[in-house]
């Protein structure tokens, strides 16, 4: 399948065994898992790229699941997903760093809640939490504001690259023969589970699918409705975040969590896999499922929280801010239902842990589909898993590697200076199996433009390369401004 057909023109396929709606981290994981079997699989995504929804805008923590609600599906799948993804990350080179976390108690009430949290962690199968005194809290996080009374350590909480994760799943699905159909919004469903397959009316034409998996995130209740169900309603819960300058990174060597309240996980301070520090998220229920704008109130709230948690952090510049929408529902758990009659499975309400749990959700989905009658014959051979470019700071990046540069000078030519992204990496991303569709897609694949200058120096240059790359890819004689400043 050429990359043009991924994004433009009539659908390159009319009939598939399984259609997965939604190319977020969950849908991509499901497509990857399904394509290990003798099945034709399509990943159907409304946007121009994988991982362009909630999966790109979260706090990027690989959770141990220590604080999940025991006995829920979420608890089980987070625990299992964490294990699976840690292994997969090691295999494919998804950047991940086991920083550990410390949950900080600021009031007597919170302090009193720590033993309960430790017990809950144990119930969730996580035994390595430890209650520590305030000296230990400050030893671990010296920059913390005064007043911490104690804490609970969670040594296995990790940070991970959410962009590479989704991309790795989709890349492997593609290499196993799945079709990626972007710019393809499912607008109607007919003949659900009937002979000849379910008919999906999409913005790029009609697709028939023997089985349908709904992993549409914020849109999962709408798709569920198209299949005749009214089981849950998604309320977008906005989370706004600040990303601080890399110069702040030495201040924060582990994830600093608040004691959770009924409103959710609360505001944390965390290192990012790209070497920054993150503060957030807020939690605010909204109506508009597409509105990922940031707000004055959100900023004010974060600044106030930040000042209380770590005043020194606020001395540093904010490099980026963004907002993500959690697919919250009226229920306390994931909304996973198999409708065997309609050959339809919904994976909805995956609110704030889906990055961690995605692989386990996929595993679980396979089980449900198999029980419902989908034939799962493993393919005799599978291509090797992809090796993803390292865009994290835990391991040497191309600009630091004399060996790589010696073989290819493009890895020694910095294009995006703040993030030290080289010409070689941008070229590779443009030529990758799932090339970026826009500047944000290039950013997610390389980190270009996500640094402190936000394009002051390299914005024009990076954009020029993207345009040229896209023009080449789609065989157009477009703008070939890639030599940049040839004047």
């Amino acid at each position: 399948m050429n990359t043009r057909q991924m994004r433009y023109g009539p659908l390159p396929v009319e009939n598939v065994d399984v259609a997965v709606i939604g190319g977020g981290v969950v849908g991509a994981a499901v497509a990857r898992a399904l394509s290990a079997y003798e099945l034709s699989v399509a990943l159907v995504e409304a946007r121009a790229d994988v991982g362009d929804g909630t999966s790109k805008a979260n706090t990027a923590i690989l959770h141990t699941g220590f604080d999940a609600k025991p006995g829920t599906l979420e608890s089980r799948l987070v625990r299992r997903g964490c294990e699976l993804l840690a292994g997969y990350a090691a295999e494919t080179g998804i950047p991940v760093e086991r920083t550990g976390a410390v949950l900080v108690a600021w009031t007597e009430e919170e302090l009193a809640a720590l033993p309960g949290l430790a017990a809950k962690a144990a119930e969730n199968g996580y035994e390595r939490c430890e209650i520590v005194g305030s000296e230990e809290v400050y030893r671990q996080v010296p920059a913390l504001a005064p007043g911490a009374l104690g804490g609970l350590t969670v040594p296995d909480e990790s940070i991970i690259c959410p962009w590479t994760t989704t991309l790795a799943f989709a890349t492997e699905a593609l290499s196993r023969g799945a079709r990626l159909l972007f710019n393809t919004r499912v607008e109607g469903v007919e003949n659900a589970g009937g002979d000849g397959g379910t008919v999906l009316r999409t913005s790029r034409g009609t697709l028939r699918a023997g089985w349908v998996v709904n992993a549409a995130g914020l849109g999962s209740d709408v798709i569920d409705g198209l299949f005749g169900h009214r089981r849950f309603t998604v309320t977008p819960r906005r989370g706004e975040l600040f990303v601080f300058d890399k110069l702040a990174r030495p201040m924060v060597n582990r994830i600093v969590l608040p004691v959770p309240s009924s409103r959710g996980k609360g505001v944390l301070v965390s290192p990012t896999i790209y070497g920054n520090v993150m503060l957030g998220p807020t939690a605010e229920d909204r109506d508009d499922r597409t509105d990922t704008s940031t707000s004055e109130d959100g900023f004010a709230f974060l600044l106030e929280k930040g000042r209380k948690l770590m005043p020194a952090l606020l001395e540093e510049e904010v490099t980026a801010s963004y907002a993500g929408l959690r697919a919250a529902t009226e229920h306390g758990d994931y909304q996973v239902f198999m409708d065997a009659g309609r050959r339809y499975l919904v994976l909805g309400g995956i609110r704030s842990t889906g990055l961690t749990s995605a692989m386990a959700v996929a595993e679980h989905a396979l089980g449900l589909l198999g029980e419902a009658g989908l034939r799962l014959d493993a393919k005799a051979t599978l291509p090797a898993p992809p090796r993803m470019p390292n865009i994290g700071e835990a391991f040497p990046r191309p600009y630091q590697r004399a060996d790589l540069i010696a073989g290819d000078p493009a890895y020694g030519t910095a294009v995006c200076f703040c993030e030290r992204v080289t010409e070689g990496e941008i070229r590779d991303a443009l030529a990758s199996p799932i090339p970026p569709a826009d500047i944000d897609g290039l950013r997610r694949r390389t980190r270009a433009l996500m640094g402190r200058c936000q394009g002051f120096f390299c914005g024009a240059e990076v954009e020029g390369r993207l345009r040229a790359g896209i023009a080449r890819e789609s065989g157009e004689n477009g703008d070939t401004d890639q030599t940049g400043e040839a004047q």
Partner: protein
């Protein structure tokens, strides 16, 4: 795990007398002067072309005080590159300094490989940039079409690309007018310039050709509070600071100008003392930083002044670098130089007795407010050592200059010196 962050072993090493980081006006001028003194000078710049900001600042107004002529940015940049090369300095482009390998030793990434530069002295000349929208905490949607002047000029002058048709410029200082010129050239109308100040900060003192005909409406005492538009900019929301009233201004391009921050990553990575006001490395009148043998020049230490002033820092520093290499640069503690509000920074931030005058015999200051009449007082240890009314006004968005002779009565063994407005 960050311990694995190291450099792979097989790097080549260069050992110049002086490494200059940054080939903008200040670095290139320093390089030329140092090479003319017979020193082996290596200039490193991460861009493919040397010249710094003027490369893409395609209008006139460059070279006045250093070259005694007025020329446009790109021509000025080329001339400075040529002059440095003529004097014997080596200018290496596509060479990004990524960190320190020692006190005066740099890690550099180039297409030819990783290099280590072990220099006897280092001059930091990494310049300054405008704070982006994100650092100014302007909320709203995040569409493309929101950028700094630097990106705008790169787009238009180096990449010959189009921008929108209706722009809002945030800021009204020298660089803002430069942005307006570029927009006009690109066929984009500036529908509004916003500034929090009660006046447009920059006025006649600086020759921006055609400014009169730009006829840009300026909204003083306002700020942009929100950007609207999912996939492309549709509007900005502008607040009147006096009344709190808000209005929506339709536009497709937003240029955030001014609000400078030095490119101080290397200075901070070295752990150099910083000037809390400018956030650049703290320097003395010889432009040396807190690390022996490491100097700093240009907009890195005064974000920002015009290019000729940056260039003249380069000329100034050369002599002191030479003295340092010869082991004759005067030592001893410096006296902190401070500035009271409305000043936000003063450069240099240290006065070292015996180290001579600062560049151009001027102390540079940045003000948050304007004062039509500048009554300057200098005090030390509770004693007023100078008072003068200077014949130029104080205005935000432009450097305010105080003759360093106003410090000459300072006690070399005394405490901090403070500059204030009466």
């Amino acid at each position: 795990m960050s311990g694995t962050n190291g450099v792979t072993p097989d790097v080549t090493t260069e050992t110049p007398d002086v490494a200059v980081v940054g080939a903008g006006p200040s670095g290139l001028t320093a390089a030329r002067e140092l090479a003319a003194l017979g020193l082996d000078v290596l200039v490193l710049d991460r861009e493919r072309q040397a010249g710094g900001i003027p490369r893409h600042s395609d209008h006139t107004g460059y070279g006045l005080r250093d070259l005694r002529r007025v020329m446009n940015g790109p021509a000025y940049a080329r001339l400075l590159v040529d002059r440095a090369a003529e004097a014997g300095a080596r200018v290496r482009t596509s060479a990004m300094v990524t960190g320190w390998a020692g006190e005066r030793s740099l890690d550099v990434t180039t297409p030819e490989g990783r290099i280590r530069v072990d220099a006897r002295a280092v001059v930091l000349a990494t310049g300054a940039r405008e704070r982006p929208r994100t650092a100014r905490l302007v909320p709203g949607d995040r569409p493309p079409g929101v950028m700094n002047t630097g990106q705008l000029q790169n787009l238009v002058h180096l990449h010959h690309r189009e921008v929108g048709t209706r722009a809002v410029i945030v800021g009204a200082e020298l660089v803002s007018w430069s942005a307006a010129l570029t927009l006009r050239e690109a066929g984009c109308r500036t529908v509004l310039m916003t500034t929090a100040h009660p006046h447009a900060e920059s006025y006649a003192a600086f020759s921006v050709p055609g400014r009169a005909v730009l006829r840009v409406p300026v909204a003083t005492r306002t700020r942009v509070v929100r950007i609207v538009g999912h996939h492309a900019v549709e509007a900005v929301e502008v607040e009147d600071l006096a009344t709190g009233a808000r209005r929506t201004v339709p536009c497709d391009t937003v240029i955030f100008t001014g609000d400078w921050i030095p490119d101080h990553e290397l200075a901070r990575a070295a752990g150099l003392d910083l000037d809390p006001g400018s956030k650049g490395p703290l320097v003395d009148n010889a432009l040396r930083t807190s690390r022996p043998g490491v100097f700093a020049v240009g907009n890195l230490i005064h974000p920002v002044d015009t290019a000729d002033i940056a260039a003249l820092d380069g000329r100034h520093v050369a002599r002191h670098v030479r003295d340092y290499l010869a082991g004759v640069l005067p030592q001893g503690a410096g006296i902190p130089l401070r500035a009271e509000a409305p000043f936000t920074w003063v450069s240099p931030g240290l006065v070292r007795p015996g180290a001579g005058t600062p560049p151009r015999e001027r102390i540079l200051l940045w003000s948050a407010e304007s004062r039509p009449v500048a009554r300057v007082t200098v005090t030390q240890d509770g004693r007023r050592i100078a008072r003068r009314t200077l014949p130029w006004p104080v205005s935000p968005g432009r450097v305010f200059r105080v003759p360093s002779s106003m410090l000459s009565a300072a006690d070399p063994r005394g405490g901090p010196i403070t500059i204030a407005l009466a």
